[in-house]
Subunit: 352 residues, 2 copies
């Protein structure tokens, strides 16, 4: 049997720390059985051990790297970089840098995680910051959307980088052999939107990259699942993600109000209880939790700070899927090809 | 009794033409009783008369301006401008220009309506095209969002124009004496987002405009109703609007699937039928239909092309509310004040 592969965990991150992260590790360990994975738990040894005590079988799969230092959710990224050395988050990312771990997972402060990851692992792509990926429930399963918040302004080349990375990510995590890719715009005609969108459109359409590019898509297409991967800049992606979250929350609250507004409604809701539970689970952000930071020399996955143990386990599964796939090689090969395309770019808006 | 005020209707627009627009006029006429409003119906006289024949009382409130020409939904705006003269849409907007009507309502081709309105009425604000407003259902009633699609790139001054126009619109239509206003961004801190957002933020915060400005808001805040009016550029607003539409459609389809997945679920849904109907009505886009084109010298309201008669009636009510309010005067006064602010602008990012 080959050596086990290690996933480094920032056990102290998120709203609840070890009381959620360790049960999350336990759940992930059960789901990853047979894939030869171990865990490096970074953080307060006593608190971690107290949680681990519940299951010897899980504890046997884990090593603990003690640290007193925890980066809090309001620490500015610059401060986390300067004073964060030796914190649970830092140690998890450092384990990837040293080759001890194949991936790191944290539900801590996003800005700090990006800054520390960029500092320790360096960027493989020419981006300001690692791109954040969201997995969005859709009519056909799940849509991969990036960037949802890190890179506010994006030129055409960066958007094409996102397409290359997002496509490889979707294949690694969803086992779709050839994911389809769309560029988020406000209409499907070639002349719509910003200049940089039209340029990226031309490169993706005519540049000969091995990507199944389907052209411009619109906001409605994210949940309709018309393509597997939706590419956008970090500003637009963040607004879209939060608008969708807000809409789901609003509809949820209207549903609760409707189902508690009278005896018949309450009775109906009671009888349809199983259906409502299933619906809630399907729309629960925990079900699709785990956004990798793309563009780094190494796999780092951000879990939602408010995720429960199921959500944290999902983030660990995403990390394992990406790290155990051909993700890095594919991206490297495609980036090389992009360099050739950029040396002889297709003209934006040119008729193919 | 003073002379009645006339609302000009493009009777031929939308997916269904007179079979929806005329019942919509009838419905609006009943709701506007006592407000001394008449209607100028522009389009094919025979088809309009056939629909009107059903109610003499409504027919008495209407005049017909016959036209053979209809602008179709796929006519490019430039072509609509060149060859659209005398069409039902053109005649409706021209009635506003000539002072015959206080407002025009059309559910036809948006691009054509914008181009014809801009050509005939001219812009009152320094915009490429009229800004499109969306009314968004929220926890506190309705959020006014603009621009949702017309002006792709917006500098700080245009965003401030939107704030002035959107605030006056919200007051006119929702009878809120002092609507609160927010600027859509990806975080609430002063240094977040694009340069033009930070500049607009500084003008709105420190420029002394009579607007209850509450700072940056995020995508989740559109449906939470934390402010009455959300300001954004046409690209971001369009993506946000369509993402919310897609999310609502996705959740609706998941709900239908859940409630038809088994006998108990079906029974529960049957019993909770009233609640589900109420919920559907609350989330129905027809309930909040009617997006005015802001920034013109005159009131033009776009109805959704697929709206039913209730939706079209709502668009007419929006037109009447805006046209019969102090909307134009307020905007004029605030634009004057903005000119003074821009002559001595507050520094972007300056601490107040």
């Amino acid at each position: 049997m080959t050596n086990p592969q290690v996933i480094a965990i920032d056990a102290m991150g998120g709203d609840h720390g070890p009381s959620v992260t360790i049960p999350g590790v336990a759940r992930a360990a059960r789901l990853l059985e047979g894939r030869n994975v171990r865990f490096l738990l970074c953080g307060d040894e006593a608190r971690i051990a107290a949680q681990l005590g519940r299951s010897k079988r899980i504890a046997d799969l884990c090593d603990i790297r003690h640290s007193d230092l925890v980066i809090s959710s309001d620490d500015p990224p610059a401060q986390a970089m300067r004073r964060g050395k030796g914190s649970s988050m830092w140690n998890a990312v450092e384990a990837v840098k040293n080759g001890e771990a194949i991936a790191a997972v944290s539900s801590g402060n996003t800005g700090a995680l990006m800054a520390i990851s960029k500092l320790l692992l360096r960027m493989a792509a020419d981006l300001d910051r690692p791109a954040i990926v969201a997995s969005w429930p859709s009519m056909h399963g799940s849509t991969t959307v990036l960037d949802v918040g890190a890179n506010v302004g994006c030129d055409a080349e960066r958007l094409v980088d996102f397409a290359i990375m997002g496509e490889a990510f979707h294949r690694a995590v969803h086992a779709v052999p050839r994911p389809t890719v769309g560029l988020l715009n406000i209409g499907s005609e070639d002349q719509k939107g910003h200049e940089e969108l039209r340029e990226a459109h031309a490169i993706l359409r005519d540049g000969g990259l091995p990507i199944d590019y389907r052209g411009f898509v619109e906001g409605t297409d994210i949940s309709s699942g018309v393509v597997d991967v939706v590419i956008t800049d970090g500003f637009t992606g963040n607004v879209a993600l939060k608008t969708a979250e807000g809409t789901a929350r609003f509809i949820g609250s209207e549903m609760r109000a409707a189902f508690t507004s009278g005896l018949m409604s309450k009775l109906g809701a009671l009888i349809a209880n199983q259906a409502l539970k299933k619906l809630k689970h399907r729309l629960d952000p925990n079900t699709v939790n785990g956004g990798p930071l793309l563009g780094l020399n190494g796999v780092v996955v951000k879990s939602h700070g408010g995720a429960n143990d199921e959500g944290f386990a999902n983030a660990i599964l995403v990390a394992a899927d990406v790290a155990q796939s051909r993700f890095a090689d594919e991206i490297h090969a495609n980036m090389q090809q992009l360099m050739t395309v950029l040396a002889h770019p297709p003209a934006a808006g040119e008729v193919s």
